[in-house]
């Protein structure tokens, strides 16, 4: 079977090969990111298990701080996975923006749209 894509783009794939020394530096970075992701997950689980949303039926008034902290930590984890593990951070800048820009824009729009709608319907239901 003729695979012209293998020949045409070979240069890019071949140029990604590296020597042992470079590999060593990369592995060090990989283990560092692993440690960060694991630490964040452990902190999240300990916080989630020890701080309650309700205490004997009474809502915890400072839960919103924990909630936003979780969302922030999730975005940090997502950033490490996309930029480091998927090495989008090492790709060319215009490719990076083309992948992330439209996606983030669209999702922000969707969140805004759906939460506005949900607030409206929620008010009707709870009336």
């Amino acid at each position: 079977m003729l695979r012209d894509d293998l020949d045409l783009d070979k240069e890019y794939a071949l140029s990604a090969n590296h020597d042992e020394e470079h590999g060593k530096a990369l592995r060090k970075k990989i283990w560092k990111v692993t440690a960060i992701l694991t630490a964040i997950t452990i902190v999240e689980v300990i916080t989630g298990g020890s701080i309650k949303q309700y205490y004997e039926g009474v809502p915890n008034s400072s839960w919103w701080i924990i909630k936003w902290a979780f969302i922030f930590l999730t975005l940090v984890k997502a950033g490490y996975i996309v930029l480091s593990f998927m090495h989008l951070g090492d790709e060319r800048k215009n490719f990076r923006y083309m992948i992330l820009g439209p996606y983030i824009l669209f999702i922000l729009y969707l969140i805004f749209h759906l939460f506005t709608e949900a607030t409206y319907w929620g008010e009707i239901i709870h009336q």
């Binding site: 070979k10 071949l14 990604a16 590296h18 692993t34 997502a78 593990f85 998927m86 992948i99 996606y103």
Partner: protein
């Protein structure tokens, strides 16, 4: 890893119909596929946010998911944390496989990719267990009582030393034996476990069960496909297909998909279990 593409000379870049992103065709389109898949998952999670925001009241992750295999209940978030950790570790072994591939270290690729497949299989199995537990529900299920707390739905729980108590969630309990047996004698309704029509975790919110099944199921299907794809590539590596090519970019491409699966789980974990 990437970042070495600066070495490619401009004749190769433009003269040979190369890409301005300095990426190979396959890798670029894997990214485009992942963006479209991320939009699907983004849409699903936003729908989850829609219903959750609309209802206001929503079941709490650590009250619903608190079981451990062989140990029973009372371990909030522990099992799902273990699942998350397994998936993160399998993501790490995948990066290490890609790195070994860039050094043309076939043995290293085989080692790390095998570990990735094992981690993925472990995760799928864990999810199956989680579903089994979610579908079967608590030991006795919930009953509808005249009590006004939490819409009057209470989970029946064993009391140490015999008898039962009624758990209304959010830390509210009825332990008075007379009241408990009075409510349990003639319940106004009962649900045990979860299906697409009703669930005991949020009797007033059928969407809770639907969204759980759809989103974790869709993600689990991605993990399963990822395991199969990784296995196919592992067989190719063993057969020496990529030695012939002179590069292991295929491992990198399936690696992108595998990391994406991990990325989605990070969000599912937060919004279904933590907050």
């Amino acid at each position: 890893m990437a970042g070495h593409s600066e070495k490619v000379d401009s004749a190769t870049l433009w003269g040979g119909g190369g890409s301005p992103f300095r990426l190979s065709y396959g890798k670029q389109w894997m990214w485009f596929f992942l963006v479209s898949d991320a939009l699907t998952f983004g849409g699903l999670l936003c729908t989850y946010g829609y219903f959750r925001h609309q209802y206001g009241d929503w079941p709490i992750g650590e009250e619903v998911f608190n079981a451990m295999p062989f140990l029973g209940n009372g371990f909030p978030l522990l099992y799902v944390a273990l699942m998350t950790f397994i998936l993160i570790v399998s993501s790490v072994t995948m990066v290490l496989a890609v790195e070994a591939g860039h050094r043309l270290d076939k043995k290293g690729v085989i080692k790390w990719l095998t570990l990735t497949v094992i981690g993925g299989a472990f995760f799928v199995g864990s999810q199956a267990w989680e579903w089994y537990h979610f579908i079967h529900g608590s030991h006795y299920g919930v009953i509808l009582t005249p009590e006004l707390m939490n819409d009057g739905w209470a989970t029946i729980r064993d009391v140490a030393g015999g008898g039962f108590s009624l758990d209304y969630g959010h830390g509210q309990m009825i332990t008075d034996p007379a009241l408990v047996s009075q409510y349990m004698a003639e319940p106004l309704g009962a649900i045990q476990g979860a299906n697409m029509i009703e669930n005991e975790y949020a009797p007033m919110i059928p969407q809770f069960g639907n969204l759980f099944f759809f989103i974790t199921g869709f993600h689990g299907f991605h993990v399963l496909s990822g395991v199969v794809i990784n296995l196919i590539i592992l067989i190719n590596v063993k057969k020496g297909v990529y030695d012939e090519r002179g590069h292991f970019e295929m491992v990198e491409k399936v690696g992108l998909y595998w990391h994406f699966v991990d990325l989605v789980w990070v969000f599912v974990f937060t919004f279904f279990y933590l907050v």
